[in-house]
């Protein structure tokens, strides 16, 4: 058994002059304060990576910088799935009695610390060094390939995809920490600059500075009693060239495992936090997870199903698409928002009932998946 006892999230966007360690420290301090814990009570640290400041031992670099001498510490790297993978590991460590309070932290000055070209170039290296990267693909191109196939098989249109960008922007308008605060329309998405067709600029998440952290503990430390009910992973491939068929991807496998492990059905879920690096990512994952039928997610967006007051509120902070994406911390913002919703602290974004939440992260090109169920304990 484990609880998420504290969460911390910085605003995303530009943090001029802040290093990756600065942003990690800010988020970690917020999470500690939220859990009501002192630095000395943290005995485990898991951290993500920084493309701006790569290091072979980032967890101990951070521990020294932040002033903690943990009995367990290392970094984790599974691309966009890292945040939830670290949370799953922290849950396992706490459950096994290896640590009492594990700090999960990531932060990166990805926007101001390097050029946008450098970010795009660094990320494209998830492609195969001999058989893909020399062809000049980018991350949007890898997902553009998947998008073209998914649209072909299930009849989605570019306008359908645009709905997800509009929804995430609408949610971001209500969060002061979000990178973007200007409303957009489907027409705006359609008219935005082509990046890797069928994906256009507004189909893609931005590059951001930011940090996020949480603390996973054996027992609740405050009135916030959010329990990790279960989690599961699936890793089917690394490179898009080697990806299985669209109906055999890891999200379906991971969510099936988590449903079997917890006994939870999708109809029990009240809040969803789903990885949204691109509009196609969100559309596909919602359908893979069973939160919408095949080819039906966009219609559900139009019907308000995933809005704050809808049946299945989704990424109410604005997601990667509009809250922003600072690397590992980007998808951790989804969990922070889920925690705020589950503990009734989401202010004007608060949904009616977030007693049971399904979270899902994806790394690489739909390569690595982590599904997780959180429940509010009494």
């Amino acid at each position: 058994m484990s609880y998420i006892t504290g969460v911390g999230l910085t605003p995303f966007g530009k943090h001029e002059g802040s290093s990756s360690l600065d942003l990690m420290s800010q988020a970690a301090a917020l999470a500690l304060a939220d859990a009501g814990l002192a630095r000395s009570e943290i005995d485990g640290i898991l951290c993500g990576y920084s493309t701006v400041s790569p290091h072979i031992m980032l967890a101990t670099v951070f521990a020294e910088h932040f002033g903690i001498q943990p009995s367990y510490a290392h970094a984790v790297q599974v691309g966009g799935a890292t945040g939830l993978a670290m949370t799953m590991l922290a849950h396992t460590l706490v459950d096994a009695g290896v640590a009492r309070h594990v700090l999960v932290v990531a932060g990166e000055n990805r926007l101001t610390g390097q050029s946008r070209d450098a970010s795009i170039q660094a990320l494209a290296q998830v492609g195969h060094p001999d058989y893909e990267v020399p062809l000049g693909p980018t991350i949007p191109a890898y997902y553009g390939l998947v998008a073209s196939r998914y649209m072909h098989e299930y009849g989605l249109t570019q306008e359908d995809l645009a709905e997800f960008a509009v929804l995430m922007r609408r949610h971001a308008l209500m969060h002061p920490g979000a990178q973007f605060h200007e409303p957009i329309t489907v027409a705006d998405v359609m008219a935005s600059k082509p990046v890797a067709l069928p994906l256009k600029l507004l189909d893609c998440c931005p590059v951001s500075d930011g940090g996020a952290a949480f603390i996973i503990s054996r027992e609740p430390t405050t009135d916030a009693r959010v329990r990790i009910r279960g989690c599961a992973q699936a890793h089917t491939h690394q490179h898009v060239t080697a990806a299985p068929a669209l109906d055999k991807l890891g999200a379906e496998i991971a969510v099936a495992k988590v449903k079997a492990a917890t006994g939870i059905a999708i109809s029990d879920v009240r809040y969803a936090a789903v990885y949204d690096s691109f509009t196609i990512t969100l559309a596909m994952l919602l359908e893979d997870l069973g939160l919408a039928g095949r080819g039906e997610a966009a219609a559900r967006v139009r019907a308000g199903h995933f809005s704050r007051d809808g049946q299945m509120p989704l990424n109410t902070h604005g997601g990667l698409l509009s809250y922003g994406h600072c690397g590992v911390g980007g998808a951790m913002a989804h969990l922070v928002e889920t925690h705020l919703q589950m503990t009734g602290r989401a202010g004007e974004r608060q949904v009616r009932d977030a007693s049971l939440a399904l979270l899902h992260g994806d790394g690489g090109v739909l390569s690595s998946h982590v599904s997780m169920v959180l429940e509010r304990a009494r």
Binding site: G136, T138, A141
Partner: protein, 128 residues
């Protein structure tokens, strides 16, 4: 293992795949063993360069000076007739399901495979 055949990743105008005699698996990413059954002694074969388009994405925003000079360029996934999938460039008029044939073009200082619509019907009568 049979002799290592040069392919486009080594500067040769060719597409090469590996075939496993033990389990029949065909793989595109070169390894010293079969990723399906672990057997060694894979046969290396030159592919015909013929296949069917599985997916496409037209890259309009590149990240390096060398690749920026080429935008827009079409990245495609092609299911080769020999039974493996590969990434390559493709003419910008390609659509999913098109029958295609490979040629080799210069790109960012190297030779890369680039597919075009096939112009002859294949054995099954499909136009390529």
């Amino acid at each position: 293992m049979s002799e290592k055949l040069a392919d486009w990743t080594m500067g040769e105008a060719a597409i090469v795949y590996q075939s496993c005699a033990a389990c029949g698996n065909r793989q595109y990413f070169r390894r010293g063993f079969c990723a399906s059954c672990g057997a060694t002694g894979l046969a290396e074969r030159r592919a015909s360069g013929e296949g069917t388009v599985y997916a496409t994405s037209l890259v309009c925003r590149a990240a390096t000076p060398e690749t920026k000079a080429h935008v827009p360029y079409n990245i495609v996934l092609v299911d080769a007739d020999e039974g493996f999938r590969m990434m390559a460039h493709g003419d910008s008029d390609l659509a999913i399901g098109d029958r295609v044939t490979a040629r080799f073009v210069p790109f960012a200082g190297r030779l890369v495979p680039c597919f075009a619509k096939a112009s002859q019907p294949d054995k099954t009568g499909r136009w390529r």
